[in-house]
């Protein structure tokens, strides 16, 4: 069948223009996605390439060389980040889960909505403002401390843990809840012995993602735990502690190529932690969701 006189073939300027426009838009959309993926790749690859020369065992086991000389590592910063993030998690995790429990078990609809709104608003507060807040609350008069930094990080983590935990708790099928209570168990018992264990996977996932996020935050630490004495490893939370983000931040502005090198290497460590945490979080959350669906 020839195309001549075939009404089903697009003819006419208008029809062809519409077809072309559609195709161009699809190409543009694909290009946009590729651009974003390329940007990610470029950043990660650059960090990896520039960090490579500095990555050796010393980097992880030594502290910064005195006066920024050659050699040395970020051991104190690694320890510091572990401790600061650890304390922050110890604060944010129970608080976030309790908030989620309150919202799903005890709060009337409107109050739960209000709390969710508040959490979302809190999540939107610039981290630098949170830094100022903690500075005013804890540092003024007392001096910097790792603990103050932890407080700041915990505020960043709180909405993440609370929102994600609430999502998981709501996923728990109601027949589990009702079943527990029909047997005469009280609310508390049902929550602790039935609901939480079912939701635990999702809560752990949420925590991992929140920790990965918090580990990379600099602004809450900027005014609270950035000035520390010496370069030795410090494990006292009442004192300021080094941290990986702060190392990157301060070294990034240094003209000394050696310091810059250390900054790249520290950045790679941070990126690795954050990416692994995020990817692990996503994979786990898919698995948890599937598990809870099966319980339905």
């Amino acid at each position: 069948m020839s195309a001549v006189g075939n009404p089903l073939v697009s003819r006419g300027r208008r029809a062809r223009r519409r077809k072309l426009t559609g195709q161009i838009m699809e190409v543009l959309a694909t290009a946009a996605a590729l651009l974003a993926a390329a940007a990610l790749a470029i950043v990660i690859i650059t960090v990896a390439k520039r960090a490579a020369p500095a990555l050796n065992v010393d980097f992880f086991t030594q502290n910064a060389a005195p006066f920024g000389g050659a050699g040395g590592g970020i051991e104190n910063a690694i320890v510091g980040t572990l401790i600061i993030t650890g304390i922050a998690t110890a604060i944010a995790l129970p608080a976030g889960v309790l908030l989620a429990i309150f919202n799903t078990e005890f709060a009337p609809r409107r109050l739960a909505d209000l709390i969710s709104l508040t959490l979302n608003v809190l999540a939107g507060v610039p981290t630098i403002v949170i830094g100022v807040f903690i500075f005013a609350l804890v540092v003024v008069g007392r001096g910097q401390s790792a603990f103050a930094g932890s407080l700041g990080l915990s505020i960043v983590m709180l909405p993440l843990v609370a929102r994600a935990s609430e999502e998981v708790l709501r996923l728990v099928p109601s027949h589990l809840r009702e079943g527990g209570m029909a047997l005469g168990a009280t609310r508390a018992r049902t929550v602790i012995t039935v609901i939480l264990p079912t939701a635990i996977g999702g809560i752990v996932t949420a925590t991992i993602v929140a920790v990965a996020r918090a580990a990379g935050e600099t602004a809450p630490l900027l005014f609270t735990t950035s000035i520390f004495v010496g370069t030795a490893v410090n494990t006292d939370p009442s004192q300021a502690m080094a941290s990986i983000p702060m190392v990157i931040f301060s070294y990034s502005e240094s003209p000394d190529p050696h310091a810059q090198q250390q900054a790249w290497a520290a950045a790679l460590v941070l990126v690795a932690v954050v990416l692994v945490g995020s990817i692990a979080g996503r994979l786990l959350s898919l698995r948890t969701r599937r598990q809870i669906e099966q319980v339905r």
Binding site: T21, L35, V43, V125, I128, P245
Partner: protein, 320 residues
């Protein structure tokens, strides 16, 4: 809820213990909620408190005064507000169309196999810590712009006001681009969710009338989700305005208003990050806290507005 028969075999003391546990759990959970409220109030109080001196000294004039003089101890945020708005606006201008396109790609165009990997890559972009992006900005992007892009732009686009100047490794342009990288994932993932939520029957109705896929998106899908897109843009704006670390690393921290997009400049968040730790006078510190107050107000307004839009959409969807 009667607990007569089923629990009568449990000794009284245990029952009393669990009922106590009930009260306890509700109490602690309620305390957490109260704690959240207290936190928000405390946040506002403390930050405003830090800014108190500057608030009373300068009042609202702070917002339209263009000075930052530590010797004369007088400060004004106008240049910083300018820098904040310019960087945020340019970032949104580039990021929003890109992000919506990505959202469309992920929800409509991409073959199913590609959706998760590409979607994950876009979200991982959001996971990169801002200090790392800032490092990349200072040591890679800035010099690259300085050597290759900015001279090109000056040569070919120099007739446009604000696009004529001198190349610089630090300045507004790298800041805008870094902010773009941060805003894209936020708006893209929300867009993707929005487009996926458009009922299939609506899309099919448009296609059955002979619309191309793009015409369906433009004529039916986008109007359907327009409210949500507005909320997404607001959240992106909030992010761009509030970013301090990466911006301060690449923008140059200049005290004067930039005369071109290549020149060093400063934003409110960036100035705050750069100077708050070590100030010459307490009025300076207070003025910096004043900047924090402005940032807080902007973030509260944009986030509450975005949430209100989201609630309204959810209610409308639930209604149908």
């Amino acid at each position: 809820m009667t607990t007569e028969t089923p629990t009568s075999h449990i000794p009284l003391s245990a029952r009393r213990r669990w009922r106590l546990g009930d009260v306890l759990l509700q109490g602690i959970a309620g305390a957490a909620a109260l704690g959240l409220a207290a936190l928000m109030v405390l946040l506002v109080v403390e930050v405003v408190g830090q800014a108190h001196a500057a608030l009373s000294e300068f009042g609202l004039g702070f917002l339209h005064t263009s000075v930052w003089n530590t010797v004369k101890d007088t400060y004004g945020a106008l240049d910083l507000i300018f820098g904040t708005l310019v960087t945020a606006a340019v970032a949104l201008l580039i990021a929003v169309p890109l992000a919506i396109a990505i959202g469309l790609f992920l929800s409509e165009l991409a073959p199913r196999a590609l959706r998760t990997p590409v979607g994950t890559m876009v979200e991982l972009l959001a996971a990169i810590p801002s200090v790392v992006l800032g490092l990349w900005g200072i040591l890679v992007l800035g010099p690259f712009l300085n050597e290759h892009v900015e001279p090109f732009m000056i040569a070919h686009l120099g007739f446009v006001p604000f696009l004529d100047g001198f190349p610089s490794p630090v300045g507004l342009l790298p800041a805008c681009l870094i902010l773009t990288l941060m805003v894209v994932p936020i708006v893209a993932s929300i867009s993707r969710e929005l487009f996926t939520s458009v009922p299939g029957e609506l899309k099919q109705g448009a296609l059955a009338l002979g619309a191309t896929r793009w015409e369906m998106v433009r004529g039916v899908a986008m109007p359907q989700v327009s409210g949500g897109l507005v909320a997404a843009v607001m959240l992106g704006f909030g992010r761009a305005v509030g970013e301090a670390i990466a911006v301060t690393q690449v923008i140059g921290g200049s005290l004067t208003r930039p005369d071109s997009i290549y020149a060093p400049a400063d934003t409110m968040a960036s100035r705050l990050a750069a100077q708050y730790a070590g100030t010459a006078t307490s009025l300076q510190k207070s003025s910096l806290a004043y900047l924090a107050v402005i940032l807080l107000v902007i973030s509260l307004l944009t986030n509450v507005a975005a949430q209100v839009i989201v609630r309204r959409i959810q209610r409308r969807l639930g209604h149908r």
